[in-house]
């Protein structure tokens, strides 16, 4: 036969293959190399982003505190006015005691600005907890002002001429005195993790936004995963193949391309104006993000369902399983990894999304920690967005720190899904 003859002439398959082998191996190596490069590129970007963020943000996890000797004057604080006493005044008094030679209104004002306006609140909390402190002299650490904090952390150059810093020479001198007396110390910034937003950087915390994100994403997850999975299952396993399902399919793909802010518009029109749900609430935010996330989950889930070999379905049907049982007992577990991937990616996107929330009023200054799904709340990316736009220098590091928290949130959120996915994954 012709081909045998040709092979003989060429020295058999081995020789024929041998001739092409070098080229093919080059192709193979190239292919593999591209793969490695691609992964490396992805990881590199991640590493660059991470180092950039972490190197900018880690300092926000510390906060400068000032050690003050405060006399809890019974004339100022007594049982009658525990709640509303002028604690900040006590702080000011103790500052004056530290620098007795400061005279003049202006200088005093500058002096008071060394400590945070939240210092009084620290004292207040202590006194409220233990009224026996009244009349005693306390040594307490109170947060320093953000300008001082920036200097201590080295974000502002002390050697610059006075006109170019926020802290004037006199204040700087006081800071140096405090430093020499070991009255300034950087400590772990608990406030950052436990407080809500504040316009004073040293008092601002991420907890409010974290809780808001948690509620919002809980809604999103609880709605979008079941709905997305259900829609995908119906479309892939039950729906007849016809024009109508084609329409739905194109439609879903198309929804994925709708700019997220348009979902915000939709949420504004439907959830706020039509249903009258409360503005700025995690409930509405979650609903909007659900609509935005659904297409991602559905598309991924359909792809996953499609890749389950039909023989598995046949096997189950043939032992008398109903279509529903076949899907839920056999197909779904096999498709679950892919569905979870879609969920991970969709939720990750929802977690990082700002634009649609602008429209439903979640871009707001909210100090209180939300306690329910209908309380006014904000979310982490919005908090980042807001802080990034704040003039105060100290918010720069806070912004990065908030991003770190968001990424940590993301990692925690994904970990469970990744764990499940790895469990269910198999190759057949």
């Amino acid at each position: 036969m012709a081909e045998d003859r040709r092979l003989e002439r060429d020295g058999g398959i081995a020789a024929a293959v041998q001739r092409t082998l070098a080229r093919r191996y080059r192709a193979e190596r190239r292919f593999r190399l591209f793969g490695m490069i691609a992964v490396a590129v992805g990881l590199l970007f991640l590493a660059v982003l991470f180092t950039a963020i972490v190197s900018k943000g880690y300092t926000a996890f510390q906060q400068t505190y000032v050690l003050l000797d405060v006399y809890v004057d019974p004339d100022v604080v007594h049982v009658g006015n525990l709640d509303s006493a002028d604690y900040q005044g006590l702080i000011k008094t103790s500052l004056r005691e530290l620098f007795p030679d400061v005279k003049g209104r202006r200088d005093k004002r500058n002096l008071y600005k060394l400590v945070s306006s939240g210092a009084g609140a620290v004292l207040r909390r202590m006194v409220l907890e233990d009224t026996s402190l009244i009349g005693r002299r306390l040594r307490i650490w109170v947060p320093a002002d953000d300008d001082v904090d920036m200097v201590i952390k080295g974000h502002v150059d002390r050697t610059l001429p006075e006109s170019q810093r926020r802290l004037d020479d006199q204040s700087l001198a006081w800071v140096e005195v405090l430093e020499r007396q070991n009255r300034l110390e950087k400590k772990w910034n608990f406030t950052f993790f436990t407080a809500g937003d504040s316009r004073e950087p040293e008092l601002a915390g991420i907890w409010g936004a974290t809780v808001g994100s948690f509620y919002t994403l809980m809604i999103t997850l609880l709605l979008s995963f079941p709905l997305g999975a259900a829609a995908a299952i119906y479309l892939e396993e039950f729906a007849p193949r016809n024009r109508w399902t084609d329409v739905i399919e194109v439609n879903i793909n198309n929804l994925a391309a709708v700019p997220s802010i348009v979902f915000g518009l939709l949420g504004l029109a439907v959830f706020l104006n039509f249903f009258g749900l409360p503005r700025s609430s995690p409930l509405v935010g979650g609903l909007v993000l659900t609509l935005m996330t659904l297409p991602t989950i559905i598309i991924a889930a359909r792809a996953a369902l499609q890749s389950v070999p039909p023989s598995i379905r046949d096997a189950a049907l043939a032992v008398g399983a109903s279509k529903m049982q076949t899907v839920f007992h056999h197909v779904l577990p096999l498709a679950l990894p892919g569905m979870l991937t879609g969920t991970i990616i969709g939720m990750a996107r929802a977690l990082g999304e700002t634009a649609p929330l602008l429209m439903v009023g979640m871009v707001a200054f909210i100090v209180d920690i939300p306690r329910g799904l209908t309380d006014a709340a904000t979310v982490l990316p919005v908090q980042i967005y807001l802080w990034a736009d704040s003039p105060e220098r100290a918010f720069v590091e806070k912004t990065s720190a908030a991003i770190i928290v968001l990424l940590a949130f993301l990692i925690v959120m994904n970990a469970a899904a990744v764990f499940l996915r790895n469990r269910y994954e198999r190759r057949w």
């Binding site: 992964v39 198309n254 518009l265 890749s307 977690l351």
Partner: protein
């Protein structure tokens, strides 16, 4: 309506499941059960839960309206005669009073009485409905249990309910679409009344600022969408130019070459890229990538805008990588090993096997991922807002600054708005057209995918 109620309902549902099952087991003595006892359990549970839940949901939806109505009837004329919006404020006061929250000023007697009334009505209503719902649940339970007979096709019934749920879920996408179209359509139509459509569709100049003044409405060439859409196209193309090869090769590498532990670690790591807030990418593009490209470009003697399309596109591409890599990785992994074996046994190299057997078999899924990535690129907002700028240049040069549809929509909508000027309405027109354009793209994609689909087994 509180936690206690829902706990009770759930408890009842659980009980009804158990009762249904038990009855099924018992009646199985009189004849072969049509379905497994669990299905009878589920059947009864559905009877118990669904009607009660329906009523509860209805109540939650109607309660405010109903209570308001009742309260207003009791209010003295001086209040109930107020126009509805004022009345709303009064009611708010009453509610604040009733819940013991802060109120402004000294509330008068009538309000206090109303507040008490409100409080009692509310607790009464809640209690009544709670009792009603629970009785309904019990009734449903009883009814369900009664109906449990060996001949009852419980599985079919339960599956019918599940199926209905599935169908409802899948129509949600349609509703969303309808909602989106409706929420942009009217404003878009208003826009087209002010700006002639042909000017919008074929105009080569986009400059909404010119028309900010009412006296310049429709100033020629101000609302041409071409440069804006070109910008979207350019940036999306750049993004996909990065994301598709990187994503696809990563997927191939992870699923075909990398060892299991490596894959288990790297894949979730890459997925983090999808979750980095877009604001962060925006900063990254604007402050790191943009200036770098500019510097490099200037060293090469190229004219580079500081907000080049390239910078925004590349950073967007980074964000999209996991969309393609993870979804593709899953479908590649799902291709049966048999097929790989078949190819390898012919003396194919791994790369050949992957390229010619595995990837074609996984194509529909991969296309799904790529489409999702494209969609994301087209719809992405924050990155381009921060990094691509607003100047609507009609160019395909990636080193120049362009603007995108989403940027325009966002700046028009979150900036200073004037809802009677085409400036703001243009956002809706852009949204609508974008919707239609991507719809066409998706139809094409569907046809292409259908054609090249390779079904294994």
């Amino acid at each position: 309506m509180n936690i206690g109620f829902f706990a009770a309902l759930i408890l009842l549902t659980a009980t009804s499941y158990l009762l249904g099952r038990k009855k099924a087991v018992r009646v199985s003595a009189y004849g072969r059960l049509h379905s497994r006892p669990n299905y009878y359990g589920a059947y009864v549970a559905l009877w118990c839960l669904l009607p009660a839940a329906l009523v509860a949901v209805l109540w939650i939806a109607l309660e405010p309206w109903l209570l308001t109505h009742l309260i207003v009837r009791e209010l003295p004329e001086s209040y109930s005669g107020l126009p509805p919006d004022r009345l709303g404020l009064v009611l708010n006061d009453i509610k604040n009073l009733a819940t013991g929250a802060m109120v402004s000023g000294e509330p008068d007697e009538a309000l206090r009485a109303a507040a008490d009334h409100y409080r009692s009505l509310k607790s009464l209503g809640s209690a009544a409905v709670a009792v009603g719902c629970l009785s309904l649940a019990v009734a449903g339970l009883a009814w369900g249990v009664r109906k449990v007979q060996p001949t009852l096709r419980a599985r079919n019934q339960v599956e019918r309910v599940v199926r209905a749920i599935l169908i409802v879920s899948s129509t949600l996408a349609i509703f969303t679409t309808v909602g989106i179209v409706l929420s942009v359509l009217f404003e878009a139509v208003r826009f087209f009344r002010m700006v002639p459509p042909w000017e919008f569709f074929f105009g080569l100049k986009w400059s909404p600022q010119i028309a900010i003044r009412a006296d310049q409405v429709g100033a020629s060439g101000a609302f041409g969408m071409i440069p804006v859409f070109t910008g979207t196209l350019l940036i999306s193309a750049i993004a996909m130019g990065l994301a598709v090869p990187v994503g696809l090769f990563s997927a191939v590498y992870l699923s075909e070459y990398a060892s299991r532990p490596v894959r288990a670690v790297v894949k979730p790591l890459l997925e983090i890229l999808a979750g980095v807030p877009t604001v962060v990418y925006g900063f990254f593009a604007a402050l790191t990538v943009g200036p770098t490209i500019r510097q490099v470009g200037e060293r090469l003697g190229l004219e580079v805008a500081s907000e080049s399309a390239l910078a925004a596109g590349l950073v967007m591409g980074i964000m999209i990588i996991p969309f393609i890599s993870s979804l593709s990785d899953d479908v590649i992994n799902a291709v049966p090993q048999d097929l790989r074996d078949g190819s390898l046994a012919l003396g194919a190299t791994r790369a050949e096997t992957i390229r010619q057997v595995v990837l074609p078999a996984a194509l529909p899924g991969i296309m799904g991922g790529v489409l999702l990535g494209v969609s994301r690129a087209i719809g992405e907002t924050m990155i381009v807002v921060m990094a691509a700028g607003l100047s609507a240049n009609l160019t395909m040069n990636p080193l120049q600054a362009v603007t995108t549809v989403t940027v325009q929509i966002v700046t028009l909508l979150v900036g200073d708005q004037e809802f009677d000027s085409p400036k703001t309405l243009a956002a809706f027109a852009l949204g609508l057209v974008l919707f239609i354009v991507t719809l066409c793209l998706n139809v094409v994609a569907l046809v292409v995918v259908r054609r090249y689909r390779e079904q294994y087994e």
